[in-house]
């Protein structure tokens, strides 16, 4: 009986001892503001590229990926480029064989470019020109035949 009580007392002591030891470790949280780059990838239908695989290449090393990751369900991916490597960072997004590459200048002016630089109106006009060229070809050869 006495042995049992002793065992319980030792157990309690030990467990308190362990838990106080765990509480004794304070947590130190520091913060630092950084410039992050958010990529948002969507198909030209406007549908986000959810789950697309992202590969980030640092400037000067296009062979080895600097970071790989996956887009969230809104087609977004955020990463913090290493500011000690200024230049053009290449970000490649790929999903089921679809994808593209975007060039992000880091260090100098932070501006992104990529995708189709045309407005819908321009696209329609361009398509109309091509179609007219093809219809014109058809009319020309149809006339020759007659």
């Amino acid at each position: 009986m006495r042995k049992k009580q002793f065992a319980v007392a030792v157990f309690l002591l030990l467990s308190f001892g362990v838990s106080t030891a765990a509480f004794a470790h304070g947590v130190r949280i520091a913060y630092q503001t950084k410039t992050a780059v958010e990529i948002s990838a969507a198909y030209d239908t406007g549908e986000p590229m959810a789950g697309a695989q992202v590969t980030v290449y640092a400037p000067g090393n296009p062979a080895a990926p600097w970071l790989t990751g996956v887009c969230d369900k809104h087609g977004r991916f955020t990463f913090v480029p290493d500011l000690s490597q200024p230049g053009t960072w290449d970000v490649r997004v790929r999903h089921a064989g679809h994808g593209g590459i975007i060039h992000v200048p880091v260090g100098e002016a932070l501006a992104a470019a990529g995708g189709t630089p045309y407005s819908p109106l321009q696209l329609v006009l361009m398509a109309a020109c091509v179609i007219w060229g093809l219809v014109g070809t058809a009319l020309f050869f149809a006339r020759r035949k007659g």
């Binding site: 064989g97 179609i131 093809l134 050869f141």
Partner: protein
């Protein structure tokens, strides 16, 4: 199905150009053997325009969306003109809308143009039903339209799965490629029905447009064996 720039390794792009070049040369030679090679140009030119805009027509198939291709229709109606038509259509899509790409033009033309040529031969099987049978034309039109998409999707899948870069999560990318390929099954039905409707319509309104290919076929074959 339009593989953009930067996805495939350079060797595959070069191989694509080689096969597309060979197919274009073969098609042009076959066209040149016709009595009047210019005869088919108006038809081919109009269908190139249709092919060019068809990729804007998107059909949502959850979780993704696919677009019309019309390669089966081009093959069925144009015969050997289909390959140059696909090549020109893809070129304009790549240059104007960045849909596909210039480095992958050869691969894309092979993936979509070669099935179109196969569809032409599939569509010619309607002779078995008699060349003015609407039922036969409809069935063969459906098969040609569906096979065009199916073969293209399979070819694109094989090319993509075998060239996944090492740094990607291969399993995830492979799964998404398989999902996209499966999404083309409903599109096969859509294109099959569309091709059958167009073929039956042409048979009723202007049968010369599709019969021409039927009538010339035996003559060409004889010339080829000589």
């Amino acid at each position: 199905m339009h593989i953009p720039d930067g996805i495939l390794p350079a060797s595959v792009c070069l191989g694509g150009y080689a096969t597309a070049g060979a197919a274009a040369w073969y098609s042009l030679r076959k066209i040149g053997q016709k009595e009047n090679p210019r005869e088919g140009i108006p038809k081919a030119s109009l269908l190139t325009a249709a092919f060019f805009v068809a990729s804007w027509i998107h059909i949502p198939v959850p979780p993704t969306s696919v677009h019309l291709v019309l390669s089966g229709l081009l093959g069925a109606v144009l015969g050997y003109y289909a390959f140059p038509a696909v090549l020109i259509g893809l070129f304009f899509q790549a240059v104007m809308f960045q849909h596909g790409g210039l480095t992958t033009l050869g691969v894309n033309a092979t993936v979509m143009g070669v099935p179109a040529l196969l569809c032409y031969h599939l569509f010619r099987l309607r002779r078995l039903f008699g060349s003015d049978s609407r039922l036969g034309t409809g069935i063969c039109g459906f098969l040609a339209g569906a096979a065009g998409i199916g073969l293209s999707a399979l070819a694109a899948m094989v090319i993509l799965v075998t060239t996944i870069p090492a740094h990607l999560d291969a399993a995830a990318e492979r799964a998404s490629i398989y999902a996209l390929t499966l999404a083309h099954v409903p599109l096969m039905v859509v294109e099959g029905v569309f091709t059958a409707l167009v073929a039956v319509f042409l048979l009723r309104v202007k049968p010369v447009l599709i019969e021409g290919e039927c009538r010339e076929a035996p003559a060409r074959r004889v010339r080829g064996t000589e």
